[in-house]
Amino acid sequence: MTRIVRYIFIDILRTRFTMLYTLFLLVSTFALFHLDSDPGKVVLSLLNVVLMVVPLVSIVFTTIHFFNSYEFIELMLAQPVARRVVFLGEYMAVAFSLCSAFLVGAGVPLLMFGGGPGAWTLLFSGLMLTLVFVSLAFLSSVLTRDKAKAIGIALLFWFYFSLIYDGLLLWIIYSFADYPLEKVTLALIAFNPVDLARIVMLLQLDISALMGYTGAFYKNFFGSNSGILFSAGILVIWVLTPLWIALRVFTRKDL
């Protein structure tokens, strides 16, 4: 399996798309550092890039890549090899290449200019979001045989987690404003990896005071060791669950 992963990884690194993605991250990170001398503020601006662009690029690129490799996946499956191996090999190759594009594009300038502990959290959330959305992309790819439909499902995932879910959450908080909602919203946030990454980042940057009493509650929770473990654990679940469902579908699927 290592050689499958290695060669597909090298292949993806050489595609124009990954190069452009890396370049885009590099240019935007450098530009933000030149606009502002306070690394804390730069990390905050970068947060928006990470929360919107990274999931979108990961999910769309992975879906397109899956369908472009369809014939090649078929050929590999005609060899004496279990479907699981081919599937996980593809997953790892795509995930590694997108993660390294992110690490080079955002990580190198961040570490050069020194973003403090915020930079590390940002890199961690970026990598986790990449893995989560690559998993979701594999799920949308195995659910249908049609490339256009799969990209549609992938975009729907992105819209849902980046935009729609926040709207729903706000609506719930607003409608039930008379009740103590801290624990409920805490649970609801766990159902959206993007929100989870955002909250962890905001708390790390110490601007939770902007969120009032709720912010203090989160600070109390996420600031503690168990809170950090909780958020990291939930993100890992967000990586593994779609991947596991996709693997189960893929091993039974007609190609």
Partner: protein
């Protein structure tokens, strides 16, 4: 060696395969023919385990292939469309395949040399023409001395010289006692290469016998004529029954 036992495959309401029975034995080579959409590729994919039949079973040396993958060690497959990762080199692809299959004896690199692929090992897939990619697919199918060879439209897109190289290779393998299944629309290619004809139509096997038997039945001397006559006979029978 391979026995297909009453398999059916439905894609939604479409019956791609409808109760197919086949016995494929070593040392024989089969021409799998039929119009577009008659179920040839679905049948091949079922044998390779890429498509799971709705009902029925496929036995390889008496053991069911459903849910198994080890039997594919003994199958060399050449797909109809060879699309490979764009930036992968020919050498990397071959190395990767060898790593997947882990051959115990020396690999058969005859076709790689005959097609001149050994001189372009560093070329990337996106730089290759469709015909060259087809040559890569062919070389991969023959690389591991597999006792069963399944070739899906092997000569489509190849230049005449390469077609001859490939045909000679198939004939040599045939003499070595391999089981060969070739699906093609180019009947003149099949005539020299195959000993048996499997004719499929609408997901069913309409004819499964030797080429001599087909020629005798239809009273024709050429395979292409014989098949045309067979198709006309079947249509006549169907129109009478309907």
């Amino acid at each position: 060696m391979i026995s297909v036992e009453n398999i059916s495959k439905n894609f939604g309401r479409l019956k791609a395969l409808n109760g197919v029975n086949l016995q494929l034995s070593p040392g024989r080579s089969y021409a799998l023919i039929g119009p577009n959409g008659s179920g040839k590729t679905t049948l091949i994919k079922c044998i390779l385990g890429l498509v799971v039949p709705t009902s029925g079973d496929i036995l390889f040396d008496g053991k069911s292939t459903l849910g198994d993958w080890r039997y594919r060690e003994r199958i060399g497959y050449m797909p109809q469309i060879g699309r490979y990762p764009e930036n992968m080199r020919i050498g990397q692809l071959i190395d990767m395949m060898k790593n997947i299959r882990k051959p115990t004896q020396d690999t058969d690199e005859e076709l790689i040399e005959a097609f001149g692929l050994d001189r372009m090992m560093d070329k990337r897939m996106h730089a290759l023409s469709g015909g060259t990619r087809q040559k890569v697919s062919a070389a991969l199918a023959f690389l591991f001395d597999a006792p069963v060879l399944i070739l899906d439209e092997p000569t489509a897109g190849l230049d005449p010289v390469s077609v001859e190289i490939l045909k000679e290779k198939v004939l040599r393998e045939k003499r070595l006692g391999r089981l060969i299944v070739i699906s093609s629309h180019i009947l003149s290619d099949l005539e020299d290469l195959t000993s048996d004809v499997i004719y499929m139509y609408e997901g069913k096997i309409q004819f499964d016998d030797t080429i001599e038997a087909l020629k005798r039945d239809t009273n024709e001397s050429k395979l292409s004529k014989a098949i045309a006559t067979l198709v006309r006979q079947r249509e006549l029978i169907h129109s009478v029954i309907d």
